[in-house]
Amino acid sequence: MTGNQIIFYLLALLTLGSAVLAVSTRHIFRAAVFLLFALMGMAGLFFWMNYAFIAAVQIVVYVGGITVLIIFSIFLTQETGEKLPQQLWSRRFIAALASFCALAFTLTQIFQHTFNASKQTAIEVSVQQIGLQMLGTNQYGYALPFELISILLLAAMIGCIVIAIRLKPTS
C-alpha cells in the first residue's frame, strides 16, 4: 500500500467511525465532539482530493461555526452529564434495518453503473479560478446564485433574531 492509500483509508475510517459514534452515543456532548471529528475527516478527504479551498471552507464553517453553535445550544438546553433516555429496542432495530436495506440498494445501484468521465483536460482548482467564475456574469458565471445566497443568509439572520428574541412583557 502506498502512502496515498493509507491516508485515504485512515480518513475514511475516521469519518465513518466518528459518524457512527455521533449517532449512537447516549451522551449528547460526546455526540457533538464525535460530529466534530467526522467533519474534520471530511475536510481531510477534501484535502486528499486536492480541493484545498473547499476543505478550508469546511473547517471554517462546519468545524468552527456550526459545531460551536451546536455545543452552545447543548449548554443552553440540556443538563450536561445526563444521559439521553434509552430508545426502544424495536425502534432502533427497525431504523437500522431500514437504513441498511437502503444502503445496500444504493450501493448495488452505484456499482452496477459505469460513469463516463469527460475526456477534456483538467483545470487547476485555484482560489483565483473559483473567485473569477463565482462572480462572473458570462456563460459559466455564478453571480446570480451568489447574490441569492447572500439574500438567504440575510433573511436567515433576521429570522433568527425574530424567533429567538424575548419581548419584555407589557404591563
Binding site: V23, A32, A98
Partner: protein
C-alpha cells in the same frame, strides 16, 4: 473494486455517511441530535459533488460551487434551527420531539 481509491470508494463513503445520518434521524428524539444527523446528511452530499467534479468533470468547477452553496445553506439552516430549538426550550422546558405537540391538533 480495486484497492486504489477512486470514485467508487468516495461514493461508498458518502452513501454510508448519508444512511448513518438517516439512522440517527430516525432513532434520536432530541432536537439537537436530530440536527446533528441532518448535518451529516448534508456533508455526504458535499462529498458526492466534489468526487463527481474531480473524477467526471475535471475541466469545470460546477461541483465546487454547488458545494459552497450547500455549505452556506447548511449554515443558515443550522442557525435558524437552533433559534427555534432555544425558543421551544423556553416555552416547554424540554426539547424532546414527543413533548413538542402544541401544533398537533
Amino acid at each position: 473494486m480495486t484497492l486504489e481509491p477512486g470514485l467508487y470508494h468516495l461514493l461508498t463513503i458518502s452513501t454510508g455517511l448519508f444512511f448513518i445520518g438517516v439512522y440517527g434521524f430516525l432513532t434520536r428524539k432530541n432536537l439537537v441530535t436530530m440536527l446533528m444527523s441532518i448535518e451529516l446528511i448534508l456533508n455526504s452530499v458535499n462529498l458526492n459533488f466534489i468526487a463527481f467534479n474531480k473524477y467526471l468533470w475535471p475541466h469545470r468547477l460546477d461541483g465546487v460551487f454547488f458545494t459552497l452553496f450547500v455549505i452556506a445553506i447548511a449554515a443558515a439552516e443550522a442557525a435558524v434551527a437552533i433559534a427555534i430549538v432555544i425558543n421551544i426550550y423556553r416555552n416547554n422546558r424540554s426539547i424532546n420531539v414527543e413533548q413538542t405537540e402544541e401544533m398537533k391538533y
